[in-house]
Each structure stands twice: as C-alpha cells, then as structure tokens.
C-alpha cells in the first residue's frame, strides 16, 4: 500500500511539471498580455513598454519559466502580476470554497446517485424513472438551474442566501447554508451519471451466478445487494465518482460565477482573462495536484473493494 502511494506521488512530479510547462508555452499564444490588462485601452506604447519591463514580461519565455520553476520547486509559486499578492496565499484562500463545493457535490451525487442506481437496478417503474430522469438531469444546463434555484429558494421563499460564501471557521451554519444551492446545482448532472453507472453495474452484478447461489441459500436480499453485489459493482462506480470529482473542478467555473463564490474556478477565469501567467500556473499546479490526489484515493479504494487489485 505504502509503495503504491509513494509510486503515485513520485509519478505526480513529472505530471505537474509537464502540465505547468504546457500552460506556460500556450498562454503567450493568446493575444494581449498582463500589461495591457493592467493599463487598459488608453495606455500609450511607452507606458506599456515600461509596465512590461516592470512585470518581467520582456524576458525570454524559457527564462520566465525557469524563474518560475526554481521558485515553484521551493514552494514559491511567485507573485500575481495583477494583484501583486503571493500566488500561494491567493490560491490557498480560494481552496476552501472550491473544495467545500466539489467535495460536497461529489458526496451528495454519490450517496443519492448510488441509492437511485441500486433501486433502479431492481427494475420496475422506478428503474425507468431513474433512466429518464438521468437524461433530463444531464440535459439541464447548470447555469440555468442555478439561477432558477436562486429565484425559488432565495428570492421567492427566502430560505437560503442567493450568493456568497461563508468560511466554515467563521460560521459553520452559514457555511452550510451558503453551499446548499451551489451543491445542488453542481451535483445534479453528476448524480445522474453515477446513478446510471450504478444501475448498469448493479444489474450485471445481480445477474451473477453467485447472487443466484446466495438467494438459494436464503441470504437476506439487503445483504445480497449491499454486502455482495454492490462490492462487486463498486469499481466502475468508483471510476465514475473519480471522474465526477475531477469534472467538478471545471464545473466550478460557472457555479462560482453564478453564486459569487471566490474559488479556484473563478480565479482561473480571471487569471486567464488578464494573462496573469504566475496565477494561471498556480491554478494549473493546484488542479493537477487535486487530480493526482483524487486518482490516488480512487486507486486505494479499488484495492479496498477488490482484493485482486491489491495483489496486482
């Protein structure tokens, strides 16, 4: 187990390096730069040149990357060109909202999705309802759903705040309240994917000969489903949950905009719009690390549910 973790962590270093290199190389292909973003349309050529000099944008790209990399290897992701704040400090402040949102949405989607999937695998009307509602949930655009939920629950019923995020350390109650609508919005499409995968995996598992044997041995149905079939069906479901988590990283961009949550997604958009290269790099590193950790957790979970994976 430890070897698996160490090997995965060792692999993550070149992965993060490649990801950072790709984004560093691609960003300059975009027109405009941070100096233009800072000075606006009325800046003269002389002002732009002075700002580029001050921001270090005149250095060759490889040198900019090398400067960034040497700092990054020592845990210093540099300073934002626009806000002039340390990138690590800036992103750490935005990590909590994004992780609260993504973990919350993944948990909600997993619990409800698996429950629905299991119920649907037992066929009948509910199975068909789950199938059709899955497609419907996937078809609803998240930004639209978010705005509608706000109108109902914040504007009309006034049960929940329409926008904003409160840190869990400031007020746990308000933290939970501020996350309800964003989590519902983010989890709905994920929920349907998990439900569908669970239904298919469980249907296959329940068709297995061992299930027939268990039933013949008068084992209780709940035990068959939860202790035997679900365990066998777990690997593909876990894969989807892992993908859902990673996909939610991208999904936060729209959700954070609608609900005015200061997270990594909205920071990524702002950084790209203003060509703030160190901040873009920082977001890439954070996203890469989160993805690596999630994949590692999923791999470890495979081992828990399926001993054959552990042996391998």
């Amino acid at each position: 187990m430890l070897r698996l973790i160490l090997r995965r962590l060792a692999l993550s270093i070149p992965l993060a390096l490649i990801a950072s290199m790709i984004s560093f190389v691609l960003v300059p292909f975009l027109p405009g730069d941070a100096a233009r973003a800072l000075l606006g349309p009325n800046a003269t050529a002389a002002q732009l040149a002075a700002a580029r000099e001050e921001l270090g944008l005149n250095l060759p790209l490889w040198q900019q990357y090398w400067n960034w990399l040497t700092g990054a290897l020592q845990g210093d992701l540099g300073t934002s060109l626009i806000s002039r704040q340390p990138v690590t400090e800036l992103l750490n402040a935005r990590l909590e909202p994004s992780l609260s949102l993504i973990i919350g949405a993944t948990l909600v989607a997993s619990v409800i999705g698996i429950a629905m999937g299991i119920r649907a695998a037992r066929r009948g009307v509910l199975g068909r309802v789950v199938d059709s509602s899955s497609i419907l949930a996937l078809a609803i655009p998240d930004f639209w759903l978010g705005l509608v939920l706000v109108v109902i629950f914040a504007v009309q019923l006034q049960l929940l705040p329409p926008t904003g995020y409160v840190s869990v350390t400031d007020d746990p109650g308000m933290w939970a309240m501020s996350l309800v609508l964003p989590i519902i919005t983010l989890s709905l499409p994920a929920l349907s994917r998990i439900a569908k995968q669970t239904r298919d995996s469980m249907a296959t598992a329940l068709d297995g000969t061992y299930v027939r044997t268990l039933r013949a041995a008068a084992v209780r149905e709940n035990s068959i489903i939860y202790r035997h079939a679900l365990r066998n069906a777990a690997v593909p479901i876990l894969t989807v949950i892992g993908l859902v988590f990673v996909g939610a990283l991208g999904g936060t961009v729209a959700i954070e905009s609608i609900f005015a949550i200061p997270g990594l997604g909205s920071t990524a958009v702002q950084a790209t719009a203003s060509r703030d290269l160190p901040l873009i790099q920082g977001v890439v590193v954070y996203f890469t690390l989160i993805t690596i950790v999630v994949n590692l957790v999923v791999d470890l979970a495979y081992g828990y549910f399926n001993p054959r994976v552990r042996v391998k």
Binding site: L30, P31, G32, D33, R36, A37, L38, L39, G40, P41, N42, A43, T44, A45, Q47, A50, A51, E54, S80, I82, S83, R84, Q85, L90, A93, W144, L147, V148, V150, V151, I152, A154, V155, Q156, L157, Q158, L159, P161, P162, T163, G164, Y165, S257, I258, F259, A260, P262, S266, T267, Q270, A273, S274, R275
Partner: protein, 576 residues
C-alpha cells in the same frame, strides 16, 4: 486666481432628492416564517393553475413546481413584470449596514495605480478633490477652491478645506497633497498618471494651497480631479512611504476605511467609519460591504433577496432590473458604434472617401437599434456628445438622418453603386457584438457587407484593434467632453485612432480649445463635434448607459450624462 470656482456650499454630495422613493428591502429571511413563505409560494403556483383539474395530487404538485420553474425562468430573463421578492411597499431602509455589489474590483486598492472603472470601490475610503454634479457643475470635494489661474489653462490651483485628516490620523494639508500628486505622476501603472501627464511641477504656495504648472495647456484638470476619474485621490503620506501597504488596505480621507480583518480580496470588502472624517453627516451607515458578484443576473437576485442594497448594473439586465421593481439609474454614458478608423483607405479603399463614411452614417436606423438593444429609442446617438454635455448640439442629430435611399445615392456618387465588403472587428464585451450585428444587417440593405471577426476578451480585442489589421472596429468610448475624447480617440497616439488619422483642421480647433476660457471653450467643443461629424470618423449608434441598481428604500445616486454617469457612491443613503 481668475476663474476659480469657489463655493460656500456644504460640499461633497449635497443631497439630491431622488425621484424614485420606495420601500425598504427588509431581509425577509428573518422577517417571514418558513411555513408562510412556502405556503405563499405554492399558493401562487396554485393560483397560476386555477381552473385546471389535475389528475392526481402528485401530478398537481409536480405541475405546480414545473410551472413555477417555467415562470421564474421567464421572470429571470426580464420578460415578466413580476419580479417578486422583497420589492414591496414599506418604510425607508433602516439598517446601519449596507451592501453594494460590483462586478469588477481592482487588483490593488491603491487608487494611484488604478482605473476609474473601480470608482465604486475607491469612493468609500477616498474622497475626491472635486465633485461633479448631475447638472455638469463642480462643487468642492476635499478641495474648497479649485481652478485655473490666469489665461491659457497652464496654471492650476487647489485649496483644501481646513482641518482635514486621513483615516490614520495624518493631516491632509498642501504638503501632503503635493506628495500625493507627485507620487501619482511618478507611477507607471494607472490612469491618473496619464491624466496628469501635462503637469510639470507641483508647488506648495500656502498651508492649504498647491499650484500646478503645466507643460502644455490642458483644460481638463477639474474634471480629472472629480469623482469620475479621481486623479489624485489623496492618500496618507504615511502610506506613501510604504505603498505596498496600499494594495490591501486604505489610507484615505473618505468617510470609511477598510477593515482588513473582515475583507476577502476579490470577494468582499468591509468598510467601517473613518473616525477622522471631516463631515460625519455623510457617514450614512456604520459599515459598508462591497461584494463582488460577476454574474449580472445574480446581482439582481441578490438585491431582490435583500442580501445587497445597491449595485453597479449591466446593460444586459436593465429590463430585468426594472421588472424586479428596482430603482434603475442608467444615464447614457458611452459612444457605441462602428469606428471607421481607416480614413486614408489603406486597408479598405472605400473608407478613404468621406462620402462613403457619410453614406454609412445615413444607412443606420439608430432608434431601431437602441430600442432593440436597450429598450429605449432615446438612447440613439448620432454625434460625439450626449445630451447635457457641453459639446452636445441638437442640430447635429439631424445631420445624418436615416435615409437608405440617400445613402445608396451617396455611395454611387463615391463610385460604389454596388456597395463593398468591409472587415470589422467586434467583441462580445458589453454586448457590443449584438450592436455590430444589428448595424451589419442595416448596412447590408445599402449593399455594404460587414465581415465580422469577434474577440471575446478585452485584451484580445484591444490587441487585434491596434494591430491595424481591421479597417473598422466596434467602439465603446466614454463621453464627457472633447478633451477626454482627444486622449484615446482623436489623438493620433490614442488606441482608438488606430490608423493614426491626422486632421489639421481638427488639430487647429483643439489648439484653440486648450487655451480658451470656459465660455470660448464651450463653443470650440461644439465646433470639434461638428468637424468630427463632417468627417464621419465613426458611425455613432447608441449612447450606452452606465447603470446602477438600488433597492427600494434607498436613494442618492446623482448620475447623469453630464457627470459621465459616475455618482459619488458614498451618497447612497436611506430615502426619507
């Protein structure tokens, strides 16, 4: 001091009664019971379904919920007159805190390196030196007296009020003001540096008076010092010694100061009362929060839910804000249209002919576009100034009336009877792409086909624009006077004059205007406007509004075209 505008008025933000008195937006989360809210919501759903006979109670509830979704979906897009929520009748806003929402905040809170776009954040902590009122007149801000000395607009004096202090306790006197102006002029970033480029020297001439000597005539200083631009927002000298502290803290002489402990940069900024403020009557609230909400629809919803009380609006949500019963202050502020920049015909030969440019001006039905895009024909714009501004001339509105037949004839006269194809750069910023498409549709009627290239992000659009690849580009340019129009548009170094057109007659008019006194200057500004119209430098189409939304029960935003659509945000106060 020749024509210093002195005043014994109370100064900053003399209350301007708002015509729209309305009720308080109480935070209904605390005022209504959960049960009654749910009951009233479903009751409204039931009313919508009245007269129908649902097959089952489950179906009925499902139908009501679905109907609810559809109805609110429509309301959200601004097509419904029912905004719902808290916009009801009642008393004035009574809470001692207020929340203002904006979609943009500066990377640094230091106003000397900032941009006027961030004025709604700066104002809380930094008072400007001068106030520009809704009627275009100037009032004292922190400066009690201000204006040019002698003739020629090359010497300017500012005299501060007595007894001013910064939030950190430092004294604001002439010496501190000089330090500020020198600091601002020495920056490489920020708009204020550009605005004060003509200032050669700042000299302390009295305890409270500084004299600015200019290297060239510049008639715009009073406007630059007012709230729209805020050049030279005084900052405490204690902080000027360590300017990095100004990125995430404030040290101004405004009514409030930032509370860093209650602030998360990029999300919300909390301001508390400045104990040293010179006029406590202007501190209408105990604390103020500025929240960042990037999504315009979310902003309206936040006001409806009572979470936010006032906000910077957005052109795309004007109708929705009105439908939600919010007070909407939306004065026309920017010239939007098509900038026919290649006036020598370098990239597009037809544009080199003034008759072609004039013909294009006659082929556009501005009122129809203004109505379609902003819901009001009144926003149609056909010149380089807005009603209420000094260079505005009523007669110029008739110079290029909508007349496609005459446009065709003029095109034929210029040698293009079958029209031509014109590459045009556009952007989705501020919905300018919609305006471009509307213009394209109308120009097609006279045979001119626009070949559109759209750049979504601001840096991409500006970079493509100044590249000189496109002979014409959509333009959005804030209008105030002919001096500010020079900086980015008429000046051959200006980014919106990207083919670097030089018109000797225009230059001559500008040279006269720069040294003229106020009266002669006004006449010359009108002549400049006329000249630009004669030469048809652009196709002005709509005076795009700069908008503010205010919850019922509050008032105070004195924003008109005359003061560039920028109120002193700290005038926000409970309606009486």
């Amino acid at each position: 001091m020749d024509h210093v505008r002195a005043s014994n008025a109370e100064g900053i933000g003399s209350p301007q009664p708002c015509s729209q008195q309305a009720a308080a937006a109480e935070d209904a989360i605390t005022t209504k019971s959960l049960g009654s809210r749910i009951k009233s919501f479903f009751a409204s759903g039931a009313q919508r379904n009245a007269g129908k006979s649902p097959k089952s109670s489950v179906a009925a509830r499902g139908g009501a919920l679905l109907a609810g979704f559809l109805v609110v979906g429509v309301a959200m897009t601004g097509c419904s007159g029912n905004g719902g929520g808290t916009a009801a009748t009642g008393a004035a806003y009574t809470k001692d805190t207020v929340t203002f929402a904006t979609s943009v905040v500066p990377p640094s809170l230091n106003p000397a390196v900032g941009d006027p776009a961030y004025a709604p954040l700066y104002h809380w902590a930094y008072d400007p030196l001068v106030i520009m009122n809704g009627d275009g007149s100037f009032s004292p801000g922190l400066a009690e007296k201000f204006g040019y000395v002698g003739k020629g607009n090359q010497t300017y004096e500012l005299t501060l009020r007595e007894g001013l202090k910064f939030s950190d306790g430092a004294v604001l006197d002439a010496k501190a003001l000089k330090e500020n102006l020198d600091y601002t002029r020495s920056q490489t970033l920020g708009t204020a540096t550009t605005l004060l480029a003509a200032v050669k020297n700042v000299e302390v001439t009295g305890q409270l008076t500084v004299r600015l000597t200019l290297s060239r005539p510049d008639p715009g200083l009073t406007f630059y010092f007012a709230q729209a631009f805020g050049a030279g927002y005084p900052i405490s000298p204690k902080s000027l010694d360590k300017p990095a502290t100004l990125d995430a803290a404030t040290a101004g002489a405004g009514p409030y100061m930032l509370d860093p402990a209650e602030t998360v940069a990029g999300d919300h900024y909390t301001f508390v009362k400045n104990p040293n403020y010179w006029n406590p009557e202007r501190q209408h609230f105990e604390s103020v929060t500025v929240r960042v909400i990037a999504n315009p629809s979310s902003t309206i919803q936040a006001i409806q839910a009572g979470q936010v009380q006032a906000a910077l609006g957005d052109p795309t949500t004007l109708s929705a804000a009105r439908a939600a019963n919010l007070q909407v202050v939306a004065p026309p502020q920017a010239l939007t249209g098509i900038n026919l920049a290649d006036r020598e015909g370098t990239k597009s030969e037809p544009l080199g002919n003034v008759k072609v440019r004039q013909a294009l001006n006659m082929a556009v039905d501005r009122k129809a576009i203004a109505k379609a895009l902003y819901g009001s024909e009144d926003l149609a714009l056909s010149q380089y100034a807005l009603e209420g501004q000094v260079p505005y001339s009523e007669e110029l509105n008739e110079k290029y009336p909508y007349d496609p037949e005459k446009a065709k004839a003029l095109l034929a006269e210029a040698g293009y009877p079958d029209g031509f194809t014109l590459p045009v750069l556009t952007t989705s910023l501020a919905s300018l792409d919609k305006l471009t498409r509307a213009v394209a549709g109308q120009l097609e009627q006279v045979g001119v086909k626009l070949e559109l290239t759209t750049q979504a992000a601001a840096p991409d659009y500006f970079t493509a624009m100044v590249s000189g690849k496109y002979p014409a580009a959509v333009i959005g340019y804030g209008l105030a006077d002919m001096n500010t129009l020079w900086a980015g548009f008429v000046n051959k170094a200006g980014p919106f004059n990207f083919f670097k057109t030089v018109d000797p007659e225009l230059d001559d008019l500008y040279n006269q205007y720069r040294v003229a006194d106020q009266e002669a200057g006004a006449a010359l500004q009108k002549k400049i406007n006329e000249r630009l119209m004669d030469q048809a430098w652009t196709i002005p189409v709509v005076g795009a509004p700069l908008s503010y939304y205010i919850a019922p029960g509050l008032t105070g935003f004195d924003a008109t075209s005359a003061n560039a659509g920028v109120p002193l945000v700290t005038d926000l106060r409970p309606a009486k």
